[in-house]
Symmetry: C2
Subunit: 380 residues, 2 copies
C-alpha cells in the first residue's frame, strides 16, 4: 500500500452518492482538514468498524450484481445501480455526497479554545463520517477513552454497547423485567449477555445453530433456544416461563419469528389467568424489530390475544428520549468496560481504499456470518 499522497492540509473522505438516474457512486475525496470551532475538535481517525448499519449507506441500495469497480489501486471507485422501486425511498439523498461510517475512534489532533483538554487524547465518536482520515466533532460528542486503550479497542464504543444498554433501558421503562434477543450469538448478543449477567436480568437467547448454543453457554448464558430444533417452541415457552420475559428484540425481522415469540409469551401469560377472555391475557407482550437479516415480510400469526405490539426500534431515537444525564451514565459505563464487557473483536483491519474493493464488499454485505472488519484510515 503506497503512502497517502494528499498534502498535510487535506485528508481522504469516503463519499457515497445516489443520482437521479439510480447510479450509486462511492469514492475517496481529498478534502481540506476542517478547522475546529471553539467547542470542536479534529480527530485523526485510526479505527472505524463496518457495522451492518453502515452497509445501508455503502452498497446496500444497489443491486449487488450491478457493482463495478473503477479508479486506481490507490483511489478506487465503485459504481452500482439502484432499482427504480427502491429509488423513491432514497429521495432525500439524491445528488448528495454523503460521508459514511457511523462510529470510530482516533486521536485529537486539533482542538478549539474550549476543548484544549482533549488535545492528544484518544476519543471515540458516533454520528457518521468516520470513514475519513480526519473528522470534525463537537467536544461534547467525544467519549474520552481511558489511558492505555487504543483506537482499535474503542472503535465500536457506540453502536453495539449503546444498543445493548438501550435495550435494557427500554425493557425497564416499558415495565418489563426480562428480555429476549434473536440472532443472539453475534457481537451484540455476546455483549448483552454480559450486561444482563452483571445486572441480574433474565435473558432468553434465540439462535439458529447448535454451535451458537454452545458458544453462548460457554459465556454463561442460562437460556439459549435453537430455532432450528424441532422442539424450539417448547424450549422458548419454557425459557419464557422461567424468566417471565415479555419483551423481545428481533434482528431477524422477516418471517414468522416475531409472531412465534409473542405467541409463546401469551401461552405463559395465560397460565396466570383465572378468568377466560377471548382477548387473551392483558399482560402486554412486545417485540421490537431492530435489524433485518431476513428482508421478507414480517408475518404475525395472531394467537397472542389483543395485548401485544410489534414495532421498529432504533437506538439513537431511544437515546434521544433518555435525557442527557442518563446518556452520560451509559457512556461512562461503556468507557469503563470498553476492553471487558463492551470489547469488540475484528477479523481483519483494512484500509479506506479496501472498503471499495469488490471482494471486501462481498464480505461486509454478509457481515453477520463472516466476522467484522475494522477500517484504519491511516493506512489508506
Amino acid at each position: 500500500m503506497p503512502e497517502k499522497t494528499s498534502s498535510s492540509e487535506t485528508g481522504l473522505v469516503l463519499r457515497s452518492r445516489v443520482d437521479e438516474d439510480g447510479t450509486l457512486s462511492l469514492w475517496l475525496a481529498d478534502e481540506p482538514i476542517p478547522t475546529p470551532g471553539p467547542d470542536e475538535v479534529v480527530i485523526q481517525v485510526q479505527a472505524a468498524p463496518i457495522n451492518p448499519s453502515d452497509v445501508s449507506l455503502l452498497t446496500a441500495p444497489a443491486d449487488p450484481s450491478s457493482l463495478v469497480a473503477g479508479g486506481s489501486a490507490e483511489r478506487p471507485t465503485l459504481q452500482g445501480k439502484v432499482s427504480p422501486q427502491r429509488l423513491p425511498a432514497l429521495a432525500a439523498r439524491i445528488g448528495r455526497d454523503l460521508p459514511v461510517g457511523n462510529e470510530g475512534a482516533g486521536k485529537v489532533v486539533r482542538a478549539g479554545e474550549n476543548a484544549t483538554h482533549l488535545q492528544g487524547r484518544t476519543v471515540a465518536v458516533f454520528g457518521g463520517g468516520m470513514y475519513a482520515q480526519y473528522r470534525l466533532a463537537r467536544a461534547d460528542d467525544c467519549m474520552v477513552l481511558p489511558e492505555g486503550v487504543t483506537a482499535a479497542d474503542g472503535a465500536s464504543a457506540f453502536v453495539n454497547p449503546l444498543t445493548a444498554l438501550c435495550m435494557v433501558e427500554t425493557m425497564r421503562r416499558e415495565g418489563h423485567h426480562a428480555l429476549v434477543l434473536t440472532a443472539a450469538a453475534a457481537g451484540l448478543g455476546q455483549m448483552l449477555n454480559k450486561v444482563c449477567q452483571e445486572d441480574g436480568i433474565g435473558l432468553v437467547n434465540i439462535v439458529r445453530r447448535a454451535e451458537q448454543v454452545k458458544l453462548l453457554r460457554g459465556l454463561g448464558a442460562k437460556h439459549v433456544c435453537n430455532s432450528s430444533d424441532p422442539d424450539f417452541m417448547d424450549q422458548l415457552t419454557q425459557a419464557l416461563r422461567e424468566t417471565r420475559a415479555t419483551i423481545a428484540f428481533d434482528a431477524v425481522v422477516g418471517g414468522p419469528l416475531a409472531g412465534q415469540i409473542l405467541n409463546c409469551m401469551e401461552v405463559v401469560a395465560r397460565e396466570d389467568m383465572t378468568e377466560y377472555s377471548p382477548y387473551g391475557s392483558p399482560v402486554h407482550k412486545q417485540v421490537y424489530l431492530f435489524g433485518g437479516l431476513d428482508p421478507g415480510p414480517t408475518e404475525i400469526e395472531r394467537k397472542a390475544g389483543m395485548g401485544w405490539g410489534v414495532g421498529g426500534w432504533l437506538m439513537p431515537w431511544v437515546l434521544g428520549r433518555l435525557g442527557p444525564a442518563r446518556v452520560k451514565q451509559l457512556r461512562e459505563r461503556v468507557a469503563a468496560g470498553i476492553t471487558t464487557t463492551f470489547a469488540s473483536h475484528y477479523n481483519e483491519q483494512i484500509s479506506l481504499a479496501d472498503v471499495l474493493r469488490p471482494q471486501m464488499v462481498e464480505r461486509y454485505a454478509k457481515a453477520s456470518t463472516s466476522g467484522k472488519l475494522l477500517v484504519d484510515p491511516t493506512a489508506a
Copy 2:
C-alpha cells in the same frame, strides 16, 4: 312462539361451555332471578345485539361444520367440536358454564337500597351475560337512557359507541391528529364518521367496494379509499397527505393491509424530511388491530423505516386506562346521542332460542355482511 314456561322467580340464561374433550355446548338454563345487593339492580333484559365480539363465546371456537342442533323448539341446544389445536387457548374456560352477550338494555325490575332511583328506568349495561331474561348489575355500571328512549334504541350503547370514542381518545393521547379506519362502511365506521365530523377530526375511510364508497360519501365522509381499486395506494397516500393521519384502526387484520397503511404514511412523512436517513422518518406511525375479518397472518412488508408500530387494541382496556372521570364524560355523550350520532340499526329481532338455531348461527357468524341481529329475551 310459546309463552315462556319458567316460573316468575326464574329466568332463562344462555350458557356456553367447552369441555376437556373439545365439545362446545350452548343451551338455555332456567335460573333463579338474582337478589340485588344494596348497590345492585336486576334488569329485565329487553334487547341485546349480537356483535362480532359475541360470536367468539357463542360458536366461533367450534368448527362450523361440526355444529349439531338438539333439544326442543322452545329449549334448543347446540353442540360442536373445537379442534385440538384451538383447545389450549381456551384452557381458562374449560368446564365453565359461561354466560354470553356483551351488551344490552332493559328495565330495572329490582333495586337494592342504594339504587332505588333506578327502579323502573330503562338502562343499558356492558360486561357480559346479556343473553338472559334477567341480569344482575352494579348500579354504577348502568347507563340510564333518556326518557322516551327504548331498550332497542339503547341496546348497543357500549361496544360500537365507546369503540369509536376510544379510538379518538387513543389518537389524541398518543399524539396523533387524524386517523384511518378500515372496514369503515360498517356500523362502527358510520358512527366514527359522525363523531369525527362533530369534532372536526380528519378521518380516512378504507372500504372494499364501490357501493361502500357511495354510502360513506352520502354520510358526508371526505376521504374514502377503495382497496379494490387499482390506484388504492395512491388514493390512500393522497388522503394521508391531506389529513396527516398517522394512526390507523384496522378490523381486517390479516394480510398486507396494515403494512400498506404504514408504508403510505411513511411516504407522506418522508416528504417533510430535509436530511436522508436509512431508517426513514422518525414520525411514529401506528396501526392498531382490533378485529379479525381476515384470520390469516398479518403480513408487514417493511418499507416504513423504523418509526412504526402494530399492535392489538381492545376498547375495555383503553377505557380502563382513561380514568373514571373521562369514562363518565364519554358515557354521557353516548347517552345524549343514542338516537342520533350513536344510533344502531338491526336487520331483525330474534328470541333467545333463535340464537341457537343453525340458520341464525350462519347469519351472525358472517355478521359484517348480513346486517345485525337484535336478541329480545322477553320473546323467548
